[in-house]
Symmetry: C3
Subunit: 467 residues, 3 copies
């Protein structure tokens, strides 16, 4: 009897724990929305906010109906490539009425995974900001949430996946990507890259207009967005244990490594930007707030794969190097003249890659969880097989996501569905498509002030001239 009660209590606490973590991850939608809204020009604020809302809403429906079923297989003999047993499509196999057996596990697991899917999807909206149609964006959300991302989830996190560390028959050692540097962030980041490349830069972005003409419209929203994302990461990383029972120490460690990697990356990033020569992406003399926030986010992405499997000191090193990955990738994108208004590729793609690789170096044997036998990082006596797996895994993700997203975005572009028209771009997205400016009173006040003052003064000037 005691055994039953212990299990019941532990199961209930697990459900509560995952509910808490999921709620924090959910709030990352607000974080992304604000970071994006702050990083674009004022003329496109409503547009990008609406895309964030649609990520969470339309994306949520797609995940419920299709994506979740492709991601996780509830059957015994699922295949290694994609889920499909049918239990998870529209949650048709979820059952909690029989004897209160499952204590809400199925439902809360779905909720947690939904928040991840929405996070993966929203990364790209920043990269194609200010020039992507809403219809094109929703087509992208359908594809990534419904098929591209769930497939990657299945590979790496489902116990049947061919890259999964939870599958004892996985390729090599199975990939150790605990909370998703690869599964979530690289997936989002690579879509961001192909999207930004295919949709081409905003008008005037490279050459015609000066850099500062594309400065984000609100530093306050950028910073609030960054803090909300960081806050949400305390659900994202610790929550990836998926349960509290037996995993409290992993969750606690994840909270600390997450903190220190972010802290180190931001501190490194602000110095990098300030002291690097201009030819290497530096802004001599400037303490750059936006770059610091993005470095911070890069640090969070970098530690995500290894948040529970590296020692605490290693998170400082991972964050430090993560800042260089972000900085380098951001410079590269500018050199390539690929217009990524939020540096989504640099933050999520490049640092996501680094996060996966870092596990190959820093994963300890104690914390490693590969089912195929213990695989450790090369700094802990590993034979390099784990590192090799991490490399192979990132190659698979890159090719799969890169190819599918390239086909998707190219098709949409060719069909005229992806990029807004020149007229709309000139007039501004919010004015053209969303019924007016995001801050109408400011526009009106400027108009009124000039109207009110000028004519009167002009009149008196004219009078004076006429006299």
């Amino acid at each position: 009897a005691d055994e039953v009660r212990f299990e019941a209590d532990e199961s209930e606490t697990n459900t509560f724990y995952l509910l808490f973590c999921a709620a924090l991850v959910f709030l990352m939608q607000a974080g992304f929305a604000l970071l994006s809204a702050g990083s674009v020009r004022m003329r496109s604020v409503k547009n990008i906010l609406l895309k964030s809302v649609m990520d969470a809403c339309f994306g949520g429906l797609v995940w419920y109906l299709i994506g979740f079923g492709f991601a996780y297989d509830k059957s015994e003999d699922g295949n290694a490539f994609i889920g499909g047993s049918g239990h998870n499509f529209a949650l048709s196999g979820a059952d909690d009425t029989t004897g209160k057996k499952d204590y809400g596990h199925d439902a809360v697991f779905f909720f947690f995974q939904y928040c991840f899917a929405a996070a993966a999807a929203t990364i790209t909206s920043g990269a194609v900001a200010e020039r992507c149609t809403l219809v094109g964006y929703c087509a992208y959300v359908f594809a990534i949430v419904g098929f591209v991302y769930p497939t990657v989830v299945h590979w790496v996190w489902d116990e049947h996946g061919f890259l999964s560390a939870f599958n004892k028959d996985a390729m090599l050692t199975g990939m150790v990507d605990f909370a998703g540097s690869g599964v979530v962030h690289m997936t989002g980041g690579i879509c961001a890259f192909t999207g930004a490349f295919i949709i081409r830069p905003r008008k005037g972005r490279f050459g015609e207009l000066p850099e500062h003409a594309f400065a984000g419209q609100s530093a306050s929203l950028q910073v609030l967005g960054t803090f909300l994302l960081w806050f949400g990461w305390y659900g994202f990383n610790p929550g990836s244990t998926l349960a509290l029972h037996n995993y409290a120490r992993d969750a606690a460690r994840a909270a600390v490594t997450t903190t220190l990697s972010a802290a180190t990356a931001a501190t490194t990033g602000i110095l990098l930007k300030r002291f690097a020569p201009g030819s290497c992406g530096g802004s001599p003399g400037v303490w750059d707030l936006g770059h610091t926030c993005n470095s911070l986010l890069g640090g969070l992405v970098s530690i995500t794969a290894g948040c529970t499997t590296v020692e605490i000191w290693a998170s400082v090193v991972i964050g430090f190097i993560g800042a260089f990955f972000y900085h380098g990738a951001s410079c590269l994108m500018r050199r390539l003249k690929i217009d990524d208004p939020l540096d989504a590729f640099a933050v999520h793609g490049a640092c996501g890659l680094w996060g996966c690789l870092a596990v190959g170096f820093f994963c300890t044997c104690d914390y490693s969880y590969t089912e195929s036998g213990t695989a450790c990082g090369v700094f802990y006596g590993g034979d390099g097989l784990l590192l090799a797996t991490q490399i192979v895994g990132t190659v698979f993700i890159t090719l799969w996501v890169g190819a599918l997203s390239a086909i998707l975005f190219s098709g949409l572009m060719a069909g005229g569905l992806l990029r807004i028209s020149k007229e709309v771009e000139d007039a501004g997205l919010d004015n053209s498509k969303h019924g007016g400016a995001a801050y109408p009173d400011i526009a009106t006040a400027i108009e009124e002030a000039t109207e009110r003052i000028t004519p009167k003064r002009i009149t008196s000037a004219t009078d004076a001239a006429g006299a």
Copy 2:
């Protein structure tokens, strides 16, 4: 001994769970504040923010001193209409010093209920925005938090209430309003209706000034407010189990139904607004951000009554229909020329009504919790008695809240305490009553820019003319 320890551990976890949920609900105050601040004109931002703060603060004192005592009765023989045993007024009967018996239940339950009361009260502030005095508003807060809302709580949620599903002697089957589509949102929404009607529209709202002159001042704050409210709803709905132990599966299900109803309503709402003809409240060609956010909130309100008692697929249907309720009610208010700047009635009143009715259709027999015998929705073989109860319950709420709020607002209006003077309205609330503009630097910058540039140019123009 084990039994005692199990109960202690479970009680502690319950307290923790309710603390977590209450904190999330508390953050809805910030959500309402920002949604409101974003939805009014810049001239009234400080005013409405201050009302949000007073909701949480002055309202909190009122709830502590009076409201909580009227809402919940701790005595055995409470009456069916209103609480009054005296234990809960100023928490005078709360006792946790004797043997650490209660593990904080009384305190955390009060805290959770306080957050609900503040949420109920704040709904109306949007409906009377930009023209209600602070004193009039505080009088309203006193009445609703101290008497009107607690009475409804007592009817529906206290075990002695005549409409309560927890009362085996309740009217008909007892009303199934799990988290408060009726108790919280209809109550707030009906006050919003009577308030907006009695206080009359903002100057120029219907006719003199164009629609866009009343556009909300910040889309960013609207969206952040919406996301914070949605986030808070994960405390509001799952938390209404009031405990984790024995209710984890209900909490988890509530998180999922809440998500899907919101997602569906937003997706429906954006299409409705875009493709409906203008005569039915559509804005052809416009992807309307504000309407999408309000539809989303309407979806959240719609699922609140049935969040734990309907199947997951049903939440999609409930959200879908909720979007129509919101849209229709919003149009109706415009037709009636009732000025509700935040669409508070449409979101909370109309969707709250739908949420209560929906339970009458979709409540499953397994999940139903009526003490008077199992009552199910008509789609699950119910005999219609539950639906009838839901209808009767909403009628009671409408009459009670409608009548009391009409008396209250009429009295305040007649006494000259409700509506700001014409002078104040012309000058703007923030400038008149709150010591200056919400964003003073923007106003100053506009002034300075015109002052700085104009005179110099004028001078040279005059010179040129004189030459």
Copy 3:
């Protein structure tokens, strides 16, 4: 076996509980950032946001490497003044690999304490806002997070500290400062005082420019910041139990006292400001939003020391008096012509003092936790020894923090590292040091509007004059 399992489950829940509370406290960084950004002029927004980010990031590294080791001693025979056993520097003594023994306690405790340290540090940034260099600020962060604050923590909260209620050999009764009115808020508030005094006022602050020229740039951000801080306080105060098991009732009580003190202080503050004569800091006729928010925060600070050790009704009294402490201190600072843009001293220093003293009056014998024997407040039959200890404790904190911060700020000032140059102050911090304005589109829009309209009109005026 059952005993082991009970302890394991309780330990895991404790870890979860502290993770939840720490996350909430972490979000206070966002709260401080926004409150600050909203309370300064638009020209300094990026600067103060960056300081908030650096508090969390650079401060986090300092806490990890040094501060935590000075604060808490893991050895048996720690000294009474400062930690130093070496286990906590860079978390070198944390070990969770041996038999999963500790369930993450060390890690999550570090995380929780980190969030506190960041909160303590960030208080001062508001007091020196708009005129402190980033380098000077980081030097301050290093000193306070690395040495000044951890020492105070050790005194009052470590079991070896000479002022600690957890030390049975403490001075007098040991200081009862449950969640840190003294340890955190007075420490931050006194640094704020000395910093603001030594760095001198912003240009034009007293005399040359009118009061309203220094109005905060965004009321919306102020209020959002206030609500986020309040929300975070539900982690700060309840979380200071450091565990759920055996402390659920204390956590629940803390949530209620925190709520009521904040509510009362805000309600008192708004009336104080409105009805006090101008000579006593009143603004007759004005319902002052900023003052209300600060009073609210003052109420939160005031209850922090006694949140678990006073009865619920007493929190109302403590909040009420706290509003006077805030108001009085704020007036005093203006009289002294010390420029504290966020009233950081008045909120955190003055109300922190009151919070410590209040315990000496209101601490009940049941809730008191002094190891040296039960010490109660004078209103509960205490012999005054607890009150005396509270006074002595605040004197120690004031002298220690005051002296060290005075030396630090004076040195930095003398070295030319603290205050920005006149050129930078005239040009604005964001433009000079951070690559441009926080809201570049607004500035550009104003410029464009005046440029676009004026010349054309001037031309026609000239034409008319010429005709």
